[in-house]
């Protein structure tokens, strides 16, 4: 029997540019990607997860993600997040989730002041999220990054709590951008919202390079599928 394809929203803000790849990757891995425009104030109730893709929403004006966070669609994202649906913020999506207060910290200019574009290795630090549930702690994934502002900053006290609660989900093996303790991905307390600078949607096809994005997106899809089944059963 074929597994049901969960419907996952991919949000497009003015200036998003990885929304197309995010849709392709989700479709490739067994989900139905639903493009959602930034002005949408509601989505089909069958939507079981969301991706905030990479890009340069609103031209990165003011601060990366600062203007996107007040787009109408963010109310939908907040509702999905609060309801436990898996929400993945990639690169600019991570910046938006931080500015929106859905994730801790903020992303600043890379320490080396250079845009970084490379395949990088990350280690899985926490398997307590739907995105990493099928992985083991310490697993290495190779996924490309491409950003100028990926230097994650957070206060000391908050950081200690995040580590203790397992909210630091991915770390770069080598320093990439000056991010605190090489943090590459952070989750909310419940674990259903993950933000990361690497681009899993660009790492799903061996023809194009590394495939480290596959398990993370499969985790997203699996969690969305569980929700879809519950929804269909009226649970």
């Amino acid at each position: 029997m074929t597994e049901p394809r969960p419907r996952i929203a991919v949000v497009t803000f003015p200036g998003s540019n990885d929304d197309g790849d995010a849709c392709l990757a989700l479709e490739h891995l067994g989900a139905d990607a639903v493009s959602v425009w930034h002005t949408a104030s509601e989505v089909d109730p069958g939507i079981a997860g969301a991706v905030l893709p990479g890009g340069f929403s609103y031209g990165d004006y003011l601060r990366c993600g600062a203007l996107a966070r007040i787009a109408p669609v963010m109310d939908v994202v907040r509702e999905l997040a609060a309801d436990g649906a898996p929400v993945l913020g990639i690169c600019n999506g991570f910046q938006i989730l931080c500015e929106a207060g859905l994730l801790p910290g903020v992303l600043r200019a890379n320490r080396q002041l250079e845009f970084v574009c490379a395949d990088v290795a990350v280690t899985v630090e926490s398997t307590d999220t739907p995105f990493t549930a099928a992985l083991a702690s310490g697993d290495r994934l190779v996924i490309p990054v491409k950003h100028g502002e990926g230097n994650w900053v957070v206060g000391d006290d908050v950081y200690v709590d995040l580590v203790e609660r397992g909210q630091i989900v991915l770390r770069y093996v080598d320093d990439v951008n000056g991010s605190r303790d090489r943090v590459a991905g952070v989750a909310n307390e419940a674990g259903n919202v993950l933000g990361l600078m690497p681009h899993p949607e660009h790492a799903v096809d061996p023809l194009l390079g590394p495939t480290g994005g596959v398990p993370l997106l499969e985790g997203l899809i699996a969690a969305a599928r569980d929700r879809s089944v519950e929804h269909a059963l009226g649970l």
Binding site: L62, A66, I70, N151
Partner: protein, 80 residues
């Protein structure tokens, strides 16, 4: 009324942009021992009452113009 808001990287927060500016100034031969780069926002408002306008701008700063994790803000001037 016109209000000017200054937004600065908080002390202790790494400011790569300021460092780059400092290094470039050094290249030009200027002896600068530190540089921090922030933002200046000029707002025009219909309010004529200074305290009301300032209170509004404080809220704008908290809600959008500055990120309290890394930035401080200051309402620098208001002119009628």
């Amino acid at each position: 009324m016109k209000l000017t808001v200054l937004i600065r990287p908080k002390p202790g927060i790494l400011d790569p942009q300021g460092e780059a500016v400092q290094a470039s100034l050094a290249t030009l031969g200027f002896a600068v021992t530190g540089a921090r780069v922030g933002r200046l926002v000029e707002l025009e408002m219909e309010d004529s009452d200074v305290p009301t306008a300032r209170a509004e701008v404080e809220r704008m700063c908290t809600e959008l113009l500055a990120n309290p994790l890394i930035e401080s803000f200051e309402i620098a001037a208001e002119t009628a």
